[in-house]
Every structure is written in C-alpha cells, then in structure tokens.
C-alpha cells in the first residue's frame, strides 16, 4: 500500500467530512469554524462543502454552545463542538461535567449524549498561561466522559471516527504542535478503538508511557537511546478514559523500568494514575527501579520561548531521564 501522507489537521478534517457525508445528524459548531476555517485551520473548507447550518459559527459563548450540543445530542443529533482553545472549556465545565457526563446515568439510562468535544491543547506556541494548558486530567477524573488524546494523524482520524460512533460524550484533546505534522492516513473510514493503548515502539530496557505530543518526542528520544544501546518500549495510552493498562503492565514485566511522560503539570496529573495502577498491582513487583515521572512543572505556562520550553519535558530531558533510569542513578 502506498503511503498517503497528510497532516494531523487534515486527518481530522477528513474524518469530520466523511462522517458528515455518511450521517446527516453529524454537524459542527464552534467559534470561527466557518469562513475563517477555525483558529487552527482544522475545519478549513468544511464550511464551503457543507454550508453554514452544519458548520455552524457561534457567538463567543462556550457554555452556551456546549449546552446547545448537549441538547441537540439528546434528541438525535451528533454534534462536534470545537472549543477554540482547551483552556476555554473552563467556561463550559458545567455543561461538560454536570450535564453531558452525568445525564445518561443520572436520568436513568434512557437518554444519552452522543457528543464530541474537540479542543486544541498544550503549549509551545507562545500563547502564555491562558492559552496553553493541558487539562486532560480534569476530564479523565469525571465519570461519564471518555477522554482521547490522539498523537498522530492516523490516530486523529481513527479516534475521532470512533468518538463519533460512541453514544457517549467524548472529549478529544488535539495538540496544537501536532496539527502541522504529517503521517500516513488511510482514506477509508477506519476506526481506532477507544480504550486500547498503543505500543508505538518495542524495547526491553525501559517502558516509556506518553501522551499527546510527548509520544513522538519519546519515540525520537528512544531512537537516540537506541544508538546509546538502550532499547525503550514506547506506549501511547491514547485514551485516558477508559485506560488500558495491559500493554503497560506487560512491558514493565519485561523492562522493570517505567518512565511516564506528560506535558501537563505533574501534581495530580494523569500519569499519577498510571503510576498508581502499577503500584496497586502485581506490576509493582516487576519494577527494579522507582518510577520516573517526567511531567510539566507545576507552574502556569510562561510566554517567553525559553521559559515555555523549560517547563515541559523536551527531547533532551526524556533522553537524559531514560539514561538515568536505566543506569540506576
């Protein structure tokens, strides 16, 4: 099969376009997704292809539009809400957490909220503290939400199509730095399952678990490590809720060493859950070294480029962390 190389943003747009063609009930709503094409260019030409009804520009009202999506989902539509920056989910938390996440359970099971909420996440663009957060841990902690962080163009498409199949609310956090990265993406409407971690690279010396933009960074680090004689297994958990620990536990059994890499601040972040799961199960006995968490610093994201870089794990940090872990220092 020949490679079909498109960007992460294009892969998302393709998934949405295909879903909209296949299913009349799918529509998008969000700020500046119409003629502007989306703040990060994701919706692109969808407005011209599907019209202003189905690619629906909204006023600046995050709470209102997520609420509108919930209401539409309750009665048979399949809305895809774009929140312009994931930081602005803070405005809409009530509708996400108190409504969307709970309705199916709380109202007795007859209603459900088949809604997808997409938002660009993460730092690296110099947009400072209110436009650079990684908030996946909040959502992962909320029963009733599924949380997905695609790390590659192929997963961006496949996971989004799975999210659209799901009769429950799914939060898809896309990393801003990935939008312009490219990779092979099949044209057909394939699904990447929600709830299945992905072993991106095999290796027997240590296990690196990563999310989002840290996946490719970890793979790059693994390649550098390989030339230093260290073989790292890199696992992309992809879906934070539900979390699939199987390949992680299996890899630890082989490597005995676990490094957890996330961009979000460390304290009470997602990777704490992975460490906790390991500490709770038999996998803890496989560990030959303490777990190493390499996370964002517990600070707001600063503006200055050198400051911004200094607060989230960079390639060198991962390489160095892995070396230290393997050498037991």
């Amino acid at each position: 099969m020949t490679e079909r190389i498109i960007t992460y943003a294009e892969a998302i747009r393709e998934a949405i376009g295909q879903a909209m063609e296949a299913d009349e009930s799918v529509f998008m709503l969000g700020e500046d997704i119409g003629v502007y094409g989306g703040a990060f260019g994701v919706s692109g030409d969808l407005y011209h292809r599907f019209g202003e009804e189905r690619v629906r520009d909204t006023p600046i009202s995050e709470l209102g539009i997520v609420g509108a999506a919930v209401g539409a989902a309750l009665v048979g539509m399949k809305p895809i809400v774009e929140i312009q920056f994931s930081d602005f989910t803070a405005q809409a938390m009530d509708q996400i957490v108190n409504q969307a996440a709970k309705i199916h359970f709380m109202l007795g099971g007859e209603l459900s909220v088949p809604m997808v909420l997409r938002a660009p996440s993460g730092s690296g663009t110099g947009a400072a503290a209110q436009h650079s957060q990684s908030l996946e841990s909040w959502f992962a902690h909320v029963p009733g939400l599924k949380v997905v962080l695609p790390s590659s163009p192929a997963d961006a498409k496949g996971l989004l199509l799975s999210a659209l199949d799901d009769p429950n609310p799914v939060i898809v956090l896309e990393h801003k730095l990935l939008y312009k990265t490219s990779g092979h993406v099949p044209e057909e409407m394939y699904r990447t399952p929600i709830g299945v971690s992905n072993v991106v690279r095999n290796g027997t010396d240590l296990t690196i678990v990563a999310t989002g933009v840290m996946v490719s960074r970890s793979v790059e680090a693994a390649e550098q490590l390989a030339s230093a004689g260290i073989e790292a297994c890199v696992i992309d958990v992809r879906t934070l809720s539900p979390l699939d620990m199987d390949p992680i536990n299996a890899s630890i059994a082989e490597t005995g060493r676990l490094m957890l890499v996330q961009e979000a601040p460390k304290h009470v972040g997602f990777m704490a859950e992975v460490a906790a799961r390991v500490s709770e199960g038999p996998a803890i006995y496989s560990l030959t070294e303490p777990v190493l968490r390499l996370c964002g610093m517990d600070v707001p994201i600063p503006y200055a480029p050198q400051l911004e870089k200094s607060v989230v794990p960079q390639l060198d940090d991962i390489v160095e962390g892995a070396k230290n872990l393997v050498r037991g220092v």
């Binding site: 539009i65 609420g67 539409a72 009665v75 409504q99 109202l107 007795g108 209603l111 009769p167 429950n168």
Partner: protein
C-alpha cells in the same frame, strides 16, 4: 401506572371556556398539588430522603404552558420540576417511585426529584443546576430545526436563573439562530432567599428579552388562562419559524425553598397574601362560575386525582428498591 388526562388545548378561546380543556387543566393543577402535598407528607414522616423543591402555588405555570404544547414538543425543567413533569403528562407512579428511590422510578433511583426525565412525554429532564437546562433547550430546538421537524421546546426556569451566564448565552444563541424555543421564567419573587428586588434592577424580567432582540411578555402566572394565552402565541410563533419568546410568569411558592428553609427572608403576611391568589382555587372558582364544570364534577375530579396520587404512592412503595449491582455498567450507554 397512575396518570391523569392529557392536557387539552382549545383551538380557540381560553381554557376555562372549554369544558374538556378546563377539566384536563384542573386535573393537572390538582395532580401537581396533591402529588406535592403527598411528597411533603412522606418527607415529614421520614419516608423520603434527600431534598425536595415544591411548586405548590405555582401550578398554573406548568399547566398553562403545557396546555399549549403537543406531546412531541419538548421541555427542559428545573430543580422545582414536579409541576412541569406532571403537566407534560408523566406517570405519577414512576415519579413517586423515583422519589422513593425505587428501581421502577424514572431514573431507577439514581436521580431523585431533581433529575426526573420522561422521554415518552418529551421531558428532557429536571436539572439540579440553576439555569442548566436553558442552553440544553436551545440545543434541542436547534435539532428540531436542523431535522426539519416542527416541534417546539419550552425551557422552564426561575427568576434567579436569569442572573446566570447560561441564561444569557442560551437566549442569545436561540435568538441569532431563530430557534423554536420558548423561555418560560417562573418568577416566584425569590431565588432561594434572595429577592428579585435585590438580585436584579429591572422591574420585569421580561425586559431582559430585548437584550437579545426577542419579544418578552409578563403574565399573571397564577392564572391558567392568561398563561395559556401567551404561551400559545409564543409556541405558535416558534413553530412556524418566528423564533423564541421570553415569558415571565408572576407567581409564588407557598412552601419554603427546600426542606431546610426557615422562611426568614419573607413575611407571613406576604405568604398569606399570595395564598389568597391560589392558582388552583382561582381556576376552580372560574370554571364553576362560568358553568363549564359543576361543583359536583369538580368534586369528582378531585377525587379522581386523589385516587391517582394514592395509587402512585401505593404502587411506588411496593416496587423494588433501586439496584446497586448495575451501577458501574450504567455510566456509559453501552456501544451496541
């Protein structure tokens, strides 16, 4: 099953001028009243748990508005939602079962009073979050429009809810998208303990409609006919693509805000005054005086509704308790 006669909307004229409609509306008023009195009693006797927000005194709003709706029309409701639920046609047994935390309740005992929904009658759910249902109503209305259906959505909420950002955002969205939704504010003068004279500086909440370019109207919320009339106009306008309306219904709750209210923020005199404006009594008198129903017929109807509520309690009490076993598998709708 313990149900009452579905509301009946006269094509022309007021409700009280039409025997069938008058009778159905009176049933609705009484069902709300008796259901909530029963609930109040069960609570007092320690047979019900959690908390409860009663709409005794406000029955005319739900009754008048729902009379203007079709069965396929939708509503979103509030923490004070029994009235909307009953007026839209819910089964009293399943409601009571929910309050009694039974497996046969509308929410299988998972939601309780604040979360009753009824897909059958288009009730998209009570809501424990003040103003939480308003954007949801806008979204359901958007769906009707996109699906080419002519259903209307009514969103009920209180005076206090109009101070929430959700109210503002939802009304604006509904306005700019010309959605088939009617916003019904039950102004009972207080958001919990806080008087509207202190929580806002407008004389009438309906004035807030202008901020969204919408029509706003204030009506006597204790008068079924008056409520029905403005609701009918708004619903019909919405149904034919004329966009949303904000209706303010002036009313009053006789009981405390919830189970823990000591009524320190309002006077006995005020409560007594409003009891003289009891919507149920007013409507009864009107339909008897206008000759649509005889005192005897009213009496029969009263008995019928009392029986229905009694049956609801009985059936609900006998139902099995809600089941903890299936909780974990109920968080998500299972992918089929």
């Amino acid at each position: 099953m313990a149900t009452i006669t579905p509301l009946f909307a006269p094509e022309q004229g007021t409700i009280s001028a039409n025997k069938e409609a008058a009778s159905a509306s009176l049933e609705s008023l009484l069902a709300i009243r008796f259901f909530e009195e029963a609930v109040d009693g069960l609570f007092a006797r320690g047979l019900m748990h959690g908390t409860m927000h009663l709409s005794i005194g406000q029955e005319a709003v739900a009754t008048g508005v729902c009379a203007a709706l079709r069965k396929t029309d939708y509503i979103t409701s509030t923490h004070r939602g029994h009235s909307h639920c009953i007026a839209k046609g819910a089964d009293l047994t399943r409601m009571m079962a929910e309050l009694l935390a039974k497996q046969t309740g509308y929410c299988r005992g998972r939601g309780g009073s604040m979360h009753i929904a009824d897909v059958e009658t288009g009730n998209l759910g009570a809501n424990g979050i003040v103003a939480g249902g308003i954007p949801i109503a806008a979204g359901a209305a958007l769906a009707q429009k996109m699906q080419g259906r002519d259903n209307v959505v009514v969103s009920f909420f209180g005076d206090g809810a109009t101070n929430e950002g959700a109210f503002h955002e939802a009304l604006n969205l509904a306005a700019v998208w010309d959605l088939p939704v009617v916003f019904v504010c039950e102004n009972n003068k207080y958001g919990m303990s806080f008087s509207t004279t202190k929580s806002m500086k407008v004389e009438k909440i309906s004035e807030r409609a202008a901020a969204y370019g919408l029509p706003g109207v204030t009506v006597d919320g204790n008068d079924v006919d008056a409520v029905f009339e403005v609701a009918k106009e708004a619903v019909e306008r919405a149904r034919v693509g004329g966009g949303p309306t904000l209706i303010e219904c002036l009313t009053y709750r006789h009981k405390g805000h919830s189970k823990s209210d000591k009524n320190l923020y309002r006077t006995k005199e005020e409560i007594e005054f409003w009891k003289t404006k009891d919507p149920v009594g007013i409507f009864e008198t009107r339909v008897i005086e206008s000759g649509q129903l005889t005192a005897e017929e009213v009496e029969q109807l009263t008995q019928k509704v009392r029986d229905a509520v009694r049956l609801a309690i009985q059936e609900a009490t006998q139902a099995p308790d809600s089941d903890p076993a299936e909780l974990l598998s109920s968080v998500f709708r299972q992918v089929s």
